[in-house]
Amino acid sequence: MDTRNARIGLVLFAVYLLLYGGFVFLNAFAADVMETTPIAGVNLAILYGFGLIIAALVLALLYGFLCKPTDEEITARGGKK
């Protein structure tokens, strides 16, 4: 098992879970906050929603850069460990 990749995955997962959880709980328990318009007359519900989508992509790319090929894959390609 490639623990390094798995560990990175879990850390990034935890980061996203916090962001998503924050969104869901704000909606459920402080729906009024979502109506405020902090930037350019656009409300927080839209900004946070778009933010979540962008965050997912950024975290995914980060994961792609941080992960290394697993040992078996390197062997399969004829490379050295």
Binding site: T37, I46, T70
Partner: protein, 657 residues
């Protein structure tokens, strides 16, 4: 609404579908072995597989359902977009690589890699079938919706056409062609949605009092709340009309019925303006009398110019009293709408004394600031309630969407079409990029549809194609064709997943039927036909429900049945064979049972009153997903050590747990 078929649109549509099928036949000829049929020989390039993920995932639910929900209720539909995308994070960070490492054909392979137990294969196979069939329903409903405005076919015929086409694709081809079809339509869907979005920005908003058919919805008053015919006749336009005496449920309803000199009954909603006075606003009605559909007080026509419902969806006031906003940008689109007012059309069903049930669609002028906030959809109203229980439905749905993606069988099998773990990872990242981009667009598409003046008041699923039609006929044909192939692609993926489950998990692993490679493929094809036929029947039964809502349920079942085992096997050494089997079965049956007993199924499918429903709220996830985990842990602890099947060295040692 009456939809006229357009020949240009039909030609483009069929050309598109023919090309798709042609590609699928051509590529399908190359895949003969079962490895090729189910997993495309593991040779699909990661980028293509990634876009195919988007193709698989951006189903009818995303395109039709989410856009429709946003078009009718505002922001709430976008909650689905956010939840659907978030699920990919679970798929990428937690599930993708182990799935690829442990399995070969189906997700049951991965669950079972440690135990080699026929029981697990059986349970996982059944749950794959259950989830796939549940997920097939909204796709089929979406297919019926698409052909209606385009070809003017009835709903059932659309469902049958899709069913037949997909069965042909799957039977002749398999995973290679399915993947390429998904790649093609995934790219086209995202591209055309982007074009449509830019056109929406360029068009901006314009104030109107009606839709694109030129009908301006009337309003009148003020008039006293309990108006008599005499008072009514003093209003301009009502000189020859009389008030229809309220009977049955009309007595308590906030509506007035009037009959004009021609005997046509119109319904008006009453808007309180103080001092016991109301303002009347024109409503639209649908009712069934003697087996015939009546709209707005007259029998519904069959061709243009006959009585029909008027299209809706317009901005009634713009910020600063302007008539047109001019072209807008990605942010000013929202800030302008925020300051404007849009007329929404909620509905209410009223039974008269004669037993005729009338569905009244009435005008509800709504400030943009409300449209752009969560909680306007009746199902999400709970988040504005003071009672904690009302919030559970929302929390439950968001949890199911988050957990569901990584447990969907047709998404999981796509990990077996690439060659290694790093390809699995890369294709997921490409998938997230395309899907995320598309979901950003859904908000613009939905709100663009809301203000396009072309919505069908009776069917939210049609919003996106009708929006395209309001732009131009060619775009409409292209969008409809893409959406149609979207359905084709997703359905073939689902049917393949089911066929794989039947062949590998049930027949070959559980029943221990020895089959040659060739026989496996044949069994899979027979299974595809059967599953396809079931899906067609269900697609016709569930006609009237918003497809995105139906998909929400499929996610709940998938997450409850599959996720606990999938996650626990990866992270807990103490899992036992019995634990996995019970967790899958408990998760699946509890979530399915909950849905069948919920208020939404009662009203939408059985036609029973919502109050009779047994489940306290409609979305099961928040109860049944933890239940699945709990079952797995408890049963595993109870059976730990007793099971001779758990022979791997780690699981024999409780210290490592």
């Amino acid at each position: 609404m009456i939809h006229e078929a357009s020949y240009v649109a039909i030609a483009i549509f069929f050309a598109f579908v023919a090309v798709t099928l042609g590609i699928s036949f051509y590529l399908g000829g190359k895949a003969k072995s079962s490895q090729g049929y189910f997993a495309a020989h593991g040779q699909i390039p990661w980028f293509v597989n990634g876009v195919a993920f988007a193709g698989d995932y951006l189903s009818a639910a995303s395109f039709l359902g989410i856009c429709g929900m946003i078009a009718f209720y505002g922001y709430d539909g976008f909650l689905y977009s956010i939840g659907y995308l978030a699920g990919w994070i679970v798929a990428l960070f937690v599930v993708a690589e182990p799935m690829k490492r442990l399995g070969k054909f189906t997700f049951a392979d991965a669950l079972d890699s440690k135990f080699n137990s026929p029981g697990i294969k059986l349970a996982a196979g059944i749950s794959t079938l259950a989830v796939s069939i549940f997920y097939l329903i909204p796709q089929m409903v979406g297919a019926g919706v698409l052909v209606q405005p385009l070809l003017n076919f009835p709903h059932w015929l659309g469902v049958v056409i899709v069913g037949a086409t997909v069965i042909i694709i799957v039977v002749t081809a398999g995973m290679v062609s399915t993947t390429w079809v998904q790649f093609l339509k995934g790219s086209l869907l995202v591209l055309f949605s982007a074009i449509l979005t830019v056109m929406i920005w360029a068009r901006g908003f314009e104030t109107k009092q009606g839709g694109i058919d030129g009908h301006e919805f009337r309003s009148s008053g003020p008039i006293s709340e309990w108006a008599t015919s005499g008072e009514l006749r003093q209003q301009p336009g009502f000189e020859e009309s009389e008030v229809v005496p309220p009977d049955g449920e009309w007595s308590d309803a906030p509506f007035v019925r009037t009959r004009n000199s021609a005997g046509i009954v119109a319904v008006w909603s009453k808007e309180d303006v103080g001092n016991g006075s109301v303002r009347l606003r024109e409503a639209q009605t649908v009712e069934t009398r003697d087996g015939q559909t009546w709209v707005n007080g007259q029998p519904k026509g069959v061709k243009k110019g006959d009585p029909e419902l008027h299209p809706i969806g317009y901005v009634s006031k713009l910020h600063g009293g302007e008539a047109k906003s001019g072209s807008l940008g990605p942010l000013s689109f929202f800030s302008t709408l925020q300051e404007s007012e849009v007329v929404l059309w909620p509905k209410q069903v009223i039974a008269g004394a004669d037993g005729v049930k009338t569905t009244v669609y009435y005008q509800k002028p709504t400030p943009g600031s409300q449209i752009l906030r969560p909680g306007e959809h009746p199902r999400f109203k709970g988040i504005r309630s003071k009672k904690p229980l009302d919030k559970l439905n929302f929390l439950s749905l968001m949890l199911a969407l988050f957990c569901g993606t990584a447990s969907l069988p047709h998404i999981l099998i796509r990990y077996y079409t690439v060659k290694d773990e790093s390809s699995a990872r890369k294709s997921t990242i490409v998938g997230i990029a395309s899907i995320g981009f598309f979901y950003v667009l859904t908000l613009y598409l939905g709100l663009g549809a809301m203000t396009s003046g072309s919505m069908d008041v009776t069917n939210s699923n049609m919003a996106a194609p009708l929006l395209a039609r309001s732009m131009n006929e060619w775009l409409f044909a292209a969008i409809s064709a893409i959406a149609f192939t979207t359905v084709l692609g997703t359905v073939s993926g689902l049917i393949l997943a089911s066929a794989g489950a039947v062949t590998h998990d049930l027949m070959s692993s559980y029943l221990k039927i020895e089959m040659s490679d060739h026989e496996k493929v044949r069994v899979a094809k027979i299974a595809s036909v059967v599953v396809g036929a079931i899906a067609v029947v269900l697609g016709i039964l569930f006609q009237g429900m918003n497809v995105s809502y139906l998909v929400g349920w499929a996610f709940s079942v998938a997450a409850s049945a599959n996720l606990p085992s999938l996650v626990m096997i990866l992270f807990w050494k103490g899992v036992t064979r019995q634990g996995v089997i019970t967790a899958i079965l408990v998760g699946m049956f509890s979530s399915l049972g909950w849905i069948l007993l919920s208020a939404d199924t009662f009203t939408g499918v059985y036609g029973l009153p919502a109050e009779d429903a047994i489940a306290p709220f409609s979305q099961p996830g928040i109860v049944t997903i933890p239940l699945g985990f709990l079952t797995l842990i408890v049963v595993s602890l109870m059976t730990a050590g007793k099971s001779e099947q758990t022979t791997s060295p780690q699981s024999a040692n409780p210290e490592s747990a």
